[in-house]
Every structure is written in structure tokens, then in C-alpha cells.
Assembly symmetry: C2
Homo-oligomer: 129 residues x 2
DNA sequence: CGGATAATTGACTTTTACGTAAATTAACGA
DNA sequence: TCGTTAATTTACGTAAAAGTCAATTATCCG
């Protein structure tokens, strides 16, 4: 496990452009360190990028991903109100995820039906000649 | 179960604007019938809208949703090549959905961890005064 | 039948999430 | 040291997915 990555290494690993990574930096989601002007990404930056891309695949907007990431890095210090509020947000996010999960299951079911129809159709064609 | 719905009924049921529904019509995803100039949505149109919005929640683009919908309405007629191709597309969509499912599970796990950290933190605070 | 209410159309605007291109600068190898 | 990569910055461009606004046109109800 390396201790820093260049931007191009990350673009290759994750299949995104440098522009995309810099965009996430502009948005304040990642804060790589610099050697001179050049960005150096620590393992933690890499993990963040992975989380961002995971959020994107699930259809979350940058704003929503920001919220999710905020939740991940629960401040180990913080007053009771803050923490209770954080727990609330976690619950909300969880129910969004549960909705998405239901959506996936529903879609999967319809895919299964569609495939079965296709297979039946193929069987018919296979027998008929 | 009604046999037609007006556009505003659907906007209320699904929490989307009329513009959104008309946009999906422009894109050819829904084809409501008309009474004069006014749109009338049949139950099948309503189901389509539901499927579109489900796709949206999962982060699929309109183009991708179009593909998914094409898959749903497997042509009951069609030659072998067509049908095999359809089965291929179903497999692809399914693996996209499986990826999303993994992404959800991973995110859920991290949410659980974050919540636990919060709860521990609350316990500490609860004991310390 | 007349006026409020609701739906449509068309055009322009906005937001998000980058793409792209040009100019600049740094780094590295022969 | 010099030239060739490679990375950065700045700024404008763009596609997708609607939002918004204005002008019409039905429609319905008292």
C-alpha cells in the first residue's frame, strides 16, 4: 500500500478524468496535499474518491454525496445536540438507501419476467422448425 | 382502479411537475391519449411513469431508462437474433443493478459504523455528567 | 353566457457535472 | 542544460433534465 498517488494513477484506477477529480476538489470533497503545485493523494483521499464514485453510481448528487461524507467523518468531539442531529441524518440517508434497494429488487423482478418471456419465445422458435 | 388519470392527478400522486411528465412524453417514454388537446393517462401510462421515476431514483439517465423500458416490453413476436440480443441486454442491466446493490450494502455498512460511533459518543456524554 | 379555472404550447433559462482548449509551469531524463 | 512530458490554471462550452414564463385555449359552473 503506497502512501501517495498521483492524479493520473487515480484516473487510471477509477476510470475518471483529471477534470473530474479536480472538480471534486473544487467542491471541497477531497483535499489532496501539494508538492509544489502538484497534487498528491493520500490513501484517505483515495478512499474519499471511492466513496464519491460509489455515491454517483447510486444517483446521488454532489450535494447529497457531501452530506453522506459528512456523516462518515463523525466528529469524535461534539456536543450532544450535534451528535443526535447526526444520528437523524443517518436515519434519513438509510431510508433513502432502503428505497433504492426496493427499487432495485422491483427492477430485478421485472427483468426476470422479461427474460423468462424471452426464453419461452426462444423455446417456441426452437421447437417450430 | 380508474381507467384514466389527468396530468395533475399524476403530479400529485408522484410528486413531480407537469413539465416533467410532458418532458417524458416528448422523449417518447409515455404516450398518453388525448381528449381534444388534453392528455389522458391510462393505467399503463401510469405504470410507465412509475417505472421511469424508479429508474431516476436509481440514477439511470433517460437514455438508460428508455433501454430498460424497451426490455420490459419484450416483443412477443421477433426473430431469434432479436430475442437473444434482448437477453444479452437484460444480463447487462442486471449486472449494473448488482453493482448498485453492492454499493448500497457498502454504504449501509459505513452508515452503521458512523451511527455506532455516534451512539458510543452519546453514551460517554451521558455518563460524564 | 361569461368569467374563473385548468391545461397546453413554445420559448427561453437554469443547474449540475463535468468536457475541452489554451496558456503556463514544473519535472525528469538524455 | 534543453527539450519533452506531465500537471496546473483559467475560462469558456455543453448535454441532460427539467424550471419558468407568457400567450392561448378549453372547460366547467353558477
Amino acid at each position: 500500500m503506497r502512501d501517495t498517488y498521483t492524479i493520473t494513477e487515480l484516473t487510471k484506477e477509477f476510470g475518471v478524468s483529471t477534470r473530474t477529480i479536480r472538480f471534486y476538489e473544487d467542491e471541497g470533497l477531497i483535499k489532496p496535499i501539494r508538492r509544489g503545485r502538484t497534487r498528491l493523494f493520500r490513501p484517505s483521499d483515495r478512499v474519499l474518491l471511492k466513496q464519491i464514485l460509489r455515491g454517483k453510481r447510486l444517483g446521488f448528487s454532489i450535494a447529497e454525496i457531501r452530506e453522506i461524507i459528512e456523516v462518515y467523518k463523525t466528529p469524535s468531539g461534539g456536543e450532544e445536540g450535534q451528535i443526535s442531529l447526526m444520528i437523524e441524518r443517518i436515519k434519513e440517508k438509510r431510508s433513502e438507501l432502503e428505497q433504492k434497494r426496493r427499487d432495485i429488487e422491483d427492477t430485478m423482478r421485472e427483468m426476470d419476467e422479461a427474460e423468462e418471456t424471452c426464453l419461452e419465445r426462444l423455446a417456441e422458435l426452437g421447437v417450430s422448425h
